[in-house]
Amino acid sequence: MFTHDYVRLTEFQFSEPVSIPVTAPLSLLNATLAQATIKINNIKDRVLISATVGWFNNFYSPGVVGATFTIRRNGIPIASVVQTVSNPCNKANSVYNVARILFVDKPLAEVLSAGSSGSAGIQVTYTLTSDATEHTAFTAGPITLTLAEIE
């Protein structure tokens, strides 16, 4: 006979600086795009992390440009994706893509082993950062970072 351990999502937190593309794009070079903090109260708790970023590159000739998007826990990289956009035409063109990171973290074991005190109610900060292979890569949004505690 099975006994069920019910799991629920709590402590939902988010940062959404842009939900509709803006007219002043932000360079992806070494950029911080969003940041959110969540309170974790059990060493067994996990954190469901989701990030979505619309980005583009302004091409002036055929080529390929890459961008890296990274989730950092208290500054330490824990998840990343790399994407490319390409221009097949011999003319100027803006090419768009959407990056998505979906990751489950189990933060307290590592945060506590790193020297934090206490075992409950610890604030953990997640940051979404970016970098690109060219200075012509930008985001105009949307930028969304969400956190949910799985307990």
Partner: protein, 155 residues
């Protein structure tokens, strides 16, 4: 511009997911036959709608969507697909996905959308309707799935 003057920073008390609704017209590639054409500018194609009951002004709605796209190229170029989420008739989220080809041929890709609606209610408790729709700047784009659109109430 964005909602709330272009900037949202949330720290929600409790933040418990209490309701979940989904519209999933297709869960696999190729399951919509014939494929749905993505309308050209200025028209839009509605891909999915979802309705969720919201009972408190402070509730949020976490929206997620994924859409598989196909473009039939006859030569080298790029096509842009604009995807939007509307609350009722109000635009609350927009993203753009480009599909490129160096020659004639078929290009397939998947696009993801994610939004936290911080103002789903303006009055008394009611059902809130969200629509996922798409538009392309060239009439060569279709979707045959997957199309998934979810809404989660956060209290």
């Amino acid at each position: 511009m964005t909602e709330n003057n272009g900037s949202q920073q949330g720290f929600i008390e409790k933040g418990i997911l209490t309701d979940f609704q989904v519209s999933e017209p297709a869960s696999t590639f190729g399951s919509i036959v014939p494929p749905v054409s993505i309308a050209s500018n200025p028209n839009f194609s509605n891909l999915a709608t979802v309705s969720i009951e919201i009972d408190d002004l402070t509730d949020k709605v976490w929206l997620n969507a994924s859409v598989g796209l196909v473009a039939q190229f006859s030569n080298a170029h790029t096509v842009d697909v604009t995807l939007q989420i509307l609350r009722g008739t109000t635009l609350i989220y927009q993203t753009v996905k480009s599909l490129s080809s160096t020659s004639s041929g078929t290009v397939r890709d998947t696009v993801y959308l994610e939004h936290v609606d911080t103002t789903p209610l303006t009055g008394s408790p009611s059902a809130v309707n969200y629509t996922l729709r798409a538009q392309a700047n060239d009439s060569i784009v279709t979707t045959s799935g997957p199309i998934t659109f979810t809404a989660a109430e956060i209290e």
